[in-house]
Point group: C2
Chain length 150, copies 2
């Protein structure tokens, strides 16, 4: 992982549709050397995958919410069971167990309030062991990047 690898990763994190020849020129390498490095980074798992990112509003899911959850009964088993349920929900795009007074944090991508309503009824009803949950609706997104700084 030298300077050139970092540069390549930064470029690919911003735009993975660039051609190998392009990338090679940018980092000052021959196309074959450049390709070798990229393949190495992929097989080493540093590059996990290449994906298309959609415009949420244009994909019909412009609404976003952050939910903090406190469980009724704590402990590893209960946490695991709750997260298993949360993960199954398509609206849940991020699910974490966290330190502090809250047990879990969920990030939701929703179509509208109706979807939020049915989601809550499903995930936060009696049998799911949720004591309390607090919802913060996203008003403005100032930054949202998948780029990991190197």
């Amino acid at each position: 992982m030298d300077r050139i690898d970092s540069k390549l990763l930064t470029l690919l994190q911003e735009d993975a549709s660039r051609t190998n020849a392009d990338l090679a020129a940018e980092v000052g390498l021959s196309p074959s050397s450049c390709l070798r490095r990229i393949r190495r980074l992929k097989s080493a798992g540093v590059i996990d995958r290449v994906v298309a990112l959609l415009n949420p509003a244009k994909a019909g899911r412009g609404m976003k919410a952050i939910v903090t959850v406190e469980l009724e009964r704590h402990g590893e088993q209960h946490m695991r069971r709750f997260l298993e349920l949360a993960v199954m929900e398509p609206a849940v795009i991020q699910a974490y167990s966290v330190s502090g007074s809250t047990d879990a944090v969920l990030m939701l991508r929703l179509m509208d309030m109706d979807e939020f309503d049915t989601f809550c009824e499903r995930l936060f009803r009696d049998r799911t062991n949720v004591a309390r949950y607090y919802t913060m609706f996203v008003i403005r997104t100032a930054k949202e990047t998948t780029v990991i700084p190197l």
Copy 2:
């Protein structure tokens, strides 16, 4: 935006490195028709961009934290000013203004506690108008996807 477009978007959200011929076969279209659809989705902005996702741990940033922030002085100007500062930080991967008793939520990608320490000193010191902030460190990531369900 018919059934085939949705299928294409779902496939591309999961793996954008698939070849056009592959995608065409999957959705039952000729390569040329398939390419036309993908290009249309790109120019319409439904597909925002194609990026490489890194393995955070292998990229040296395995630590994650969620920070809720309450500002000293509220209002549009102050919120905007705070978010401008937050957005400039490379460790901040998501920054939102939200509804409820907290004003903003930040998602951080960090190398270690030292980075968190210097980050807090920089962003949450007196002059930045932050009244209170509460940090939740991510213990376990149960789900983390960029896929918007269609």
